[in-house]
Structures are given as structure tokens and as C-alpha cells.
Symmetry: C2
């Protein structure tokens, strides 16, 4: 049960290249990142939403967030996005694995101070999460913008790893009378649940019912 390591760390591939495309697809398919940084000798890994614009990632949160405060000092950081595609069930315990796609990106963050840039980055995060939502909701007030920290994260190095396909067993194990194959896994949207205080007569918008989350 080893996660196959198909690629090594490398300088960020040029935009438009095959490698950059692999990375971009993973970052665009996910929406939760695990952000790693070290503070006072202790590593932290914190889940957070993100958005992408070219080779920039955007993170946001409360201005009181410890994570964002640490990252804003420019410490080296690692942002990892993992998509789980299935369990790989081999005939031997040893060859069990997981089908997945992951993007591991390294770089440093910078705090966005200009309010217009800040709002634009928040729009990128929002549209990444649920395209169509931003234009329908009440936008951020000046006070809300002030209460929000937004970081721009420059991707400096990155690695994409993909494991897909059937189990790969030792040749002599293929005769074993053991079921083998893939148990596919998918993160999927269920039926939207309207808020109990919804104004009467408002239907679920199409961009919610038919979002990329399926």
C-alpha cells in the first residue's frame, strides 16, 4: 500500500507546457488545499479554500488568523491539493495503493493591501469554489474587506503526482482467487439544502444545482 511517486520536485514548468497543464488541472479540480508552514519550530498543516489565477494562488481568511499572519511574513510554505480517485485493491497486501492526483507547490505568500486587488482575489477564490456565485451575492463592505486578509502565493516550485489505473500485482499472484480491482471514489454534491430563512419563492440557481461539484 504505497502511494506511487511518479514525479519529482522540479522548477515550476513553463505555462502551456504539458507539466504545467497537469498541475493546473489538479489545482482547478480541487478547492481545498492543505497549507504547510513552520512556526516556532513546529510544522502546521491547515486546510483552507483557495483560488488560482495563472501561476498565483490566493488564500484568504480572518485578519486575526494565525496561519495567514505567519504566511504573510514570507516564510517558505507548501500548498498541497489532493484529489482521491479510488482504492487500488491488489491480490497482495503489498501492492495495494490509492488512485489519486496531487499537486504540491512551494513558494511564499505576500499580503494584498490594495482593496481593489483584494476584492478581485476574493472573486477568484469565490468563482473557483462555485462559478456564478459572486455576482449574485452582496459583495464585501469596506469593513468586511478590512477584516479579511488575502494572500497572493507565488508558485515557485511544484510537483504533480498521479496514480491511476488497475492494481499491478506480482506475476505469480494473478492466479490467486482474490477479487482485485478499483473501488472508485468521488467527492460529489448532493441535493442543495435551502436555508430555513430563505425569502419565499427563490429557486435553487442553476449554477448551484449544476455546479462542477456534480
Amino acid at each position: 500500500m504505497i502511494l506511487t511517486n511518479r514525479s519529482q520536485l522540479r522548477r515550476l514548468p513553463a505555462r502551456g507546457s504539458h507539466d504545467f497543464e497537469s498541475l493546473r488541472k489538479i489545482l482547478d479540480a480541487g478547492f481545498v488545499a492543505h497549507v504547510g508552514f513552520q512556526a516556532h519550530g513546529q510544522p502546521f498543516v491547515i486546510p483552507t479554500l483557495y483560488g488560482r489565477d495563472n501561476d498565483k494562488l490566493y488564500l484568504h481568511g480572518s485578519a486575526a488568523s494565525r496561519m495567514l499572519g505567519e504566511l504573510a511574513t514570507g516564510v517558505p510554505a507548501c500548498i498541497t491539493v489532493t484529489l482521491v480517485d479510488g482504492l487500488v485493491l491488489a491480490r497482495s497486501a503489498f501492492h495495494h495503493s490509492m488512485n489519486y492526483r496531487s499537486a504540491v507547490v512551494f513558494g511564499t505568500a505576500q499580503k494584498i493591501v490594495d482593496p481593489d486587488q483584494k476584492e478581485q482575489a476574493l472573486r477568484v477564490i469565490s468563482e473557483h469554489l462555485l462559478a456564478g456565485r459572486w455576482n449574485e451575492v452582496r459583495g464585501p463592505s469596506e469593513r468586511e474587506l478590512k477584516a479579511t486578509t488575502v494572500l497572493e502565493f507565488s508558485i515557485e516550485e511544484a510537483s504533480a503526482k498521479i496514480r491511476q489505473g488497475p492494481p499491478l500485482d506480482d506475476e505469480e499472484d494473478y492466479d490467486l482467487p482474490v477479487w482485485a480491482g478499483i473501488l472508485p471514489l468521488k467527492l460529489e454534491a448532493k441535493k442543495p439544502e435551502p436555508d430555513s430563512r430563505l425569502v419565499q419563492g427563490i429557486e435553487v440557481p442553476q449554477y448551484v444545482a449544476q455546479s462542477r461539484h456534480g
Copy 2:
């Protein structure tokens, strides 16, 4: 769109306590962890499978794994497990959020050298991933055990965070004609895909068809 922070870092709560139960439930519901550690001044966040036995977590991988090698030196590490439950769609951009459960655990790893203990830890990881599988497959050979590194991770501090329930809007926004509510998300198993080289007549086992992955 802020991930609500409902609890702070604390010493590992006593087993059997409410807090330990929250943590345990999250660790038992997930199966992919994001492991964070620092090496040569650079933080890394790597996805991996895990298993839990009381207040120990087990990680495994190739004996050549750089991550496991670094962790085995006893550097401080952070293991985070995140379960995504839904998008929280509020009437204002600011109050958007995500429903999720996450466990962030801090501690250090120790390499398991005894082959029996190693095999037992691998069984814990395997049964955590898919209960019932271990007894059906060919167990690890001596050579395979040697090629596998298994780490025992003592949870020293931990934090559980849970955001659930409907969006919480500003009182004056509830009259806005905007759809609000939850878009539930769930990682679910699909129809098992048999390997093309399966021995004829082998049906999908019940523990695969009716696994906890649903």
C-alpha cells in the same frame, strides 16, 4: 468565506473524554492524511494513507521514501485529516464558508523495526482503509516487509475543528432575494471495477461492495 475556527490547539485530551471522541471520530472517518514536516528549511505537505490504534497513528511507504526517512529522524510533524461536508452559501460573499471536520495532530514518529509489530501496524492501516481486506489477500513476504517503512506516530497535541449547520448571515441580509443554504458534499464509493485479469467466477466481496465508503 472564512473557515470557522472552533477550537484551539491543546494537549491531547484524555481518552474517553468528549474531546478525544471528537478527534477519534474524525480520524476514523478519514483515510488520507496530509503530513507536514520541515526539511532543509522547506516545509513539505504530503498526502498519505494512515491507520489509528488508540492514540497512535501509523504511516507506511517505501523504505526509499524521503518523507518517511525525514520523519523517522524524530523531527516534529503535523498530521492533518480533513473531511469536507459541504459549501455554505450565504447571502453575502463575506459569510460564505465550508462545512468540514478536521483533526490536526502534532507529534513525532518512530520507526518500527520488529517485523511482527510492523505487520500488525500494516494490518491496522489496511483494515482502516477497507475492513475485511487483510485476511483475504496474500500477506507481506519477508522481502516486502523489508522494503516497507512503517512509522508509529505518537499524538502529543491535537485539535479538532468542526463547522456545521446553515449559513449565518448579517441580520439585514436575510431579506435579500438570494438563494442561500448548503450544497452538501460527500466522498462516495462508486461501482467496483474488476481487474481485467481477475480469476473467473470471483464476485465482488461484500466488504468491498458495502464498505464504509458507501
